[in-house]
């Protein structure tokens, strides 16, 4: 059967980096002019409008260090990664998040860090972006529904942010909370999950150098459907652990209960490490469909990051702690 093949893009068609940077500067300039033009009219924007977008655009212009941790595999076509998504806040179909992306209001955005930390704070996102050092990381992403992608994320290690706020000795877990905006997010009007979406990691998982907070992908600002403006990326766990659109990070002593654990504790465990040997009760986890590819691949233990993370789970029965 005929199947669509992605056209190879000729080198001549690729916009030179310098040129697209110029364009970006031009667009930014235009946006600033536009904003300025609004000022006397009385239609005042809040003074922090577009602030984090501006801060991020500045950072994306610089040369970011790149680390390929996707086993040298080619990234999934961007078009696929932005139109095949699970983001139930924007709808349950894979195509919904792209269609309803504009319903996620990300401006302005702030991030709260509280709980068991010496210095809790609520930070404007632009301040987070400015103080952290961003880098590109190419990671495999494996969904619990047995499909996978390779994504070039832009972000910074979660550990960098946590250390700044000095976790106390009682901090054993890190709890994440996503946006709650049922007026705009159509999915939050339904009771598929108990909103807002919540996830959690053990502190050593959260401090692991592979664990990222991402603010962009494919060299650009994070698209709304992929969890703008800031999301978690934990590449050795099923995708649902990598919570999108984070508004609050709380360090706790007790183990938190995530939204999926609450919905179905038999099927969604706290750890949710990618493991081809432990099936989801209803679906097989042995294989996966790499988006954009024909056929199936064998799923790798810890999604191929066993060397880096297996030590975190030494001595644990992974059948029990799924």
């Amino acid at each position: 059967m005929a199947r669509y093949r992605y056209p190879a893009i000729a080198e001549s068609e690729v916009t030179p980096r310098e040129l697209f940077r110029q364009r970006r500067r031009f667009i930014k300039g235009g946006a600033a002019l536009g904003a300025a033009a609004l000022l006397p009219g009385g239609l005042l924007l809040p003074d922090n409008a577009h602030a984090w977008q501006g801060a991020l655009a500045d950072r994306l212009e610089g040369d970011l260090p790149t680390r390929g941790l996707g086993g040298g595999e080619a990234p999934t076509p961007r078009e696929d990664a932005t139109s095949y998504n699970n983001f139930y806040e924007l709808g349950v179909r894979k195509s919904d998040p792209e269609v309803y992306a504009h319903k996620l209001i990300t401006d302005p955005w702030s991030l709260t860090i509280d709980g068991e930390v010496e210095s809790p704070a609520t930070l404007a996102l632009e301040d987070v972006i400015t103080r952290e050092s961003l880098e590109e990381r190419i990671y495999r992403l494996r969904c619990v529904e047995a499909w996978s992608m390779v994504i070039p994320w832009i972000g910074f290690p979660l550990a960098d942010l946590l250390k700044r706020h000095a976790p106390t000795s009682r901090a054993r877990y890190v709890h994440f909370e996503s946006i709650h905006d049922p007026d705009n997010l159509r999915g939050q009007k339904s009771s598929i999950l108990d909103w807002p979406y919540r996830e959690a990691l053990r502190i050593d998982e959260a401090m692991h150098p592979l664990t990222l907070l991402a603010v962009g992908m494919y060299g650009e600002v994070m698209p709304n459907q992929n969890g703008a403006p800031i999301r978690l990326v934990v590449p050795w766990k099923y995708g649902f652990k990598s919570i999108k659109s984070v508004v609050r990070i709380t360090l706790t002593e007790e183990r938190p209960v995530s939204a999926w654990m609450e919905q179905n504790p038999e099927e969604y465990g706290f750890y949710a490490n990618v493991n081809p040997e432990v099936d989801h009760p209803r679906w097989s986890q042995a294989r996966e469909r790499r988006i954009g590819e024909r056929g199936k691949r064998e799923t790798l233990m810890f999604n191929g990051y066993a060397e880096e993370v297996a030590g975190l789970y030494a001595g644990m029965d992974l059948n029990e702690h799924f």
Binding site: D80, Y84, Q263, R289
Partner: protein, 199 residues
């Protein structure tokens, strides 16, 4: 030609359209690369949904006949049932080809490990004797009584189909709920109707 033949023919054409048009629509969307990022997955899901919808429609024919008394409905029931069977076969084949890529060891493994695969397979296998005995000669050879008893398996098959859909659903239970509600209504009608006739 009697007057009744006109509407019957139109109704049979409608049944033909119900069986054939979804195939055209699916082929067209496949051809235009309009089945989303993973067209293989879309084909497996859509053939299953269409098959289950046609199966429920077939089951609805008998109550519709009871309510209207129009014989055309019963004439068109067999082709409708065969369309449902054909779509569900297409669903199973597309699962084997587009989901499992004809890897028999994977197909066997999933049959053993995954309840939803077993429910679906059982539901489809139950329909095989019904399809084989749907023709007039088989029906005459069996006798009306035995034939009716055998063909009540369609309810078991549809229930397995509904269970299959329910079991593989992750979070949004609107469609499986609708399927269960429709099937329950049809079964209830059948039971009430049978009780009324016994009296």
């Amino acid at each position: 030609m009697s007057i009744a033949k006109g509407p019957v023919r139109i109704f049979r054409l409608l049944v033909l359209a119900a069986g054939l048009l979804p195939a055209l629509w699916l082929a067209l969307r496949w051809g235009q690369d309009d089945l989303g990022v993973v067209p293989e997955e879309a084909v497996v899901h859509l053939t299953g949904r269409i098959g289950l919808a046609l199966l429920l429609a077939t089951i609805a024919f008998s109550p519709a006949f009871r309510l209207t008394g129009w014989v055309g409905i019963m004439i068109a029931r067999r082709p409708m049932g065969l369309w449902a069977f054909a779509w569900l076969c297409a669903h199973a084949l597309s699962w084997m080809g587009l989901e499992q890529y004809w890897a028999w060891e994977w197909i066997w493994e999933d049959m053993q490990d995954l309840p939803y695969v077993r429910y679906g397979a059982a539901g489809l296998i139950l329909l095989v004797p019904l399809a084989l005995t749907s023709f007039r000669r088989a029906r005459q050879a069996m006798g009306e009584r035995a034939w009716h008893w055998l063909h009540r398996l369609v309810y078991v098959s549809a229930a397995l189909g509904a269970t299959h859909l329910w079991t593989l659903t992750r979070a949004d239970y609107r469609l499986p709920t609708l399927v269960v509600a429709v099937l329950a209504t049809l079964v209830l009608f059948r039971l009430v109707d049978a009780a009324r006739h016994r009296r």
